[in-house]
Symmetry: C2
Subunit: 420 residues, 2 copies
């Protein structure tokens, strides 16, 4: 078979280390240049393929590609665009095949979360049903840590580290000031359906009574009275109370504490504003002085304090994806497998996409304490190694050096455009 090119794209919310996966893909493909041609990156994810808007990564120097290791966010642009099923929108698939054929693309690497795994699976299915041979490999990435079959998802470890450190630092601030000033601090973190990120804040605590004193998980129904009673008791006992709240915190009936009418491209409701809502409760019911923070994008782009473990894994799944492709595999995802034994270890193994797409891995209930406000020792044991190591970028004049690629477009070969 003549040598074919590869398509690589980033999808969904970006992370501090998704570019490390890109680096793993491109460096490994270059290493196997006798088997794989050029890696074409989609500008803004799958949309780049639909629009025939491809980036020629062969025009980037080796040092620029290496620089992706220390550069946050999506260097090639990402997107929120979910492919419909073949029967619902056949035109999109026909267009993809047209573009792939035009550029001799035989490998499809898609770097994303659960929704993107679904896109990747559909590409593999398209290849079979529409008789266009393509190997579709999904590269895991999501700060939500909710992909099944993999022990954890690249991107999560760095958010976890950022949130754990920020919680510890802010808690020391409140502890210093609580005698005459702020008594309650609320940090709102991401996590729509699964409380993994909120749980990571629990790593801030070293001793009994340390902050965070209350963690709010989407998995545990929010009870206003129970929450306020715990805040009050904590302030009475400790002098202050630190709360870390997942944006997905909801009442028993499934309504969020703050509902917003904005809906994203995947049909998910856009959340936010939970921290001020909780602060309002604390003020009106308990009268404590409060402060609140919303980390939002700061948490998922915080490359300046990325986890070395996370970075290594992000690179490894990118590298493994290319190796799987060369080995002739299709419709799989490199998964992270945790080793047995007390010392943390991990390896990469393949997982079938059919069992990953559109699945959400929830936190095991036994990672959350019985009262629903904290993490257990089992939770801590799972989370702790994911934040090991500090993968610092280099700095110049006090600012991190983040790579800017040339992003040279590949000449279009098709006469027609495509409206996305």
């Amino acid at each position: 078979m003549p040598k074919q090119n590869a398509f690589y794209a980033q999808s969904g919310g970006v992370t501090a280390v998704i570019n490390a996966s890109a680096c793993g893909v491109i460096e490994t493909a270059r290493k196997y240049s006798s088997q794989i041609g050029t890696v074409y990156a989609g500008r803004n994810g799958i949309i780049g393929a639909l629009r025939e808007d491809l980036i020629d990564t062969s025009k980037e120097s080796a040092s620029a590609i290496r620089g992706l290791l220390t550069t946050p966010a999506g260097a090639f642009g990402s997107c929120r665009h979910k492919l419909k099923s073949l029967t619902e929108n056949r035109a999109e698939y026909e267009r993809l095949i047209e573009v792939f054929k035009a550029h001799n693309i035989g490998y499809f690497f898609y770097n994303g979360g659960g929704d993107s795994a679904d896109t990747c699976l559909k590409i593999a299915q398209m290849g079979e049903s529409m008789d266009y041979p393509i190997q579709a490999i999904h590269i895991p990435k999501t700060i939500d840590n909710d992909l099944p079959l993999t022990d954890n998802s690249p991107g999560f470890g760095s958010v976890a580290k950022y949130i754990a450190i920020s919680t510890r630092e802010a808690a020391m601030d409140i502890a210093s000031m609580c005698e005459t000033s702020t008594k309650v601090f609320i940090l709102e973190v991401m996590g729509r359906h699964a409380g993994w990120i909120a749980a990571a804040s629990g790593l801030a605590a070293e001793q009994e009574g340390d902050a965070p004193h209350i963690i709010l998980f989407p998995e545990i129904a929010f009870e206003r009275e129970k929450f306020l009673a715990r805040v009050q008791r904590t302030v009475q006992e400790r002098g202050y109370c630190v709360i870390v709240a997942s944006e997905g915190t909801q009442y028993k009936d499934g309504t969020f504490l703050t509902e917003s009418s904005v809906v994203d491209a995947f049909g998910h409701q856009q959340l936010g504003g939970l921290a001020p809502a909780l602060a309002g409760m604390v003020r009106s019911e308990l009268g404590y002085k409060y402060h609140w923070a919303v980390a939002d994008y700061l948490q998922r782009s915080a490359r300046h304090i990325a986890s070395q473990t996370d970075l290594d894994q992000a690179y490894a799944v990118g590298k493994a994806a290319v190796e799987y492709a060369i080995a002739g595999k299709n419709s799989v995802m490199p998964a992270i497998i945790r080793g047995e034994g007390k010392e943390y270890s991990w390896s990469i193994s393949e997982a079938p996409l059919e069992e990953i797409a559109n699945q959400e891995k929830m936190m095991p209930r036994d990672y959350i304490t019985d009262d629903g406000f904290g993490i257990t020792e089992a939770g801590r044991e799972y989370l702790a190694p994911l934040i090991y190591g500090e993968a610092y970028p280099e700095y110049r004049n006090g600012m991190p050096i983040y790579t800017r690629l040339k992003l040279e477009p590949v000449a279009k070969k098709l006469a027609t455009g495509f409206k996305v």
Copy 2:
């Protein structure tokens, strides 16, 4: 004169490096142990003196004191408590003299901002008018960077670094996603009356057109239509718009964009919620998808990415305060003086407290661009060196090692308490 003890306390909002000043004070006092006795730290600032709640720093090991260099927030506790004038509340001053006499305290080191400089000045005045000899030295600290006579204030450089880095990182996130998702990102930062912190976000930009695209300063009256027009133009031209807004942003008539009824101990209104207010404007008028973050305490406690320059200066002002005391000085503050020449340099020089207390240094107008939405080259030249260098803490198991002191109380010598 027999050897006297020293009182040291932390006041007002804490910073990532205020403990470095404490380290400078304690290490230098230990070095001059033939001239200065024990450094007693006030628990929770001046309140510790009023309550005779003193901490014996001589019980802390040399390595614990060194550990303060890498520990954020106020290790001895801080407070928001402003002394009234001698005529208004003579009882407080009489109590202070009683406590200082009981513990043979002849040196008063107060580590804070403008309000605290006022407290420090009053202590010096009290010493004279009430015939109790005490040398009061103010040690500058404020993230607001609004102390006069000093080129900058310790604590600011680290916040500036954190905000500049966070802005760059978040901006890369939006840039990756803007094609199909978030178009506008708003980061709310501290700065009640002076826009220094918001200005620091301007260091995130390297090239024309880089984020932040709009900075909102308290110094520039907010004009809704002008703001929205700029947001729209930026999204049209760049695909996305990053806004950094000072919490003190206000309309021409002096009203804040979001007013809150909460007032702190110094009589300042407690602000917050500007970011969602701006986001609401963007949504209702322009319809763009947005995200917003509020850094709040995360910015001022972010020791994990402190500026080395800031850290060095924080230590130096603590050290200089003790040296001034030994040299017999009173009612002064060690100020940071910027050297001439192209290469950044600084030294410490004394400044009189009378000219510091209750003064606020505003940003020079020529640091802000004519349109009021950015920083000029002059502003950049001033700000840039303050974030030079990365003063990383050490880590264990992925988390920074922050010092916990023993905080052993000094035995009380007075029969009576004092209600604060």
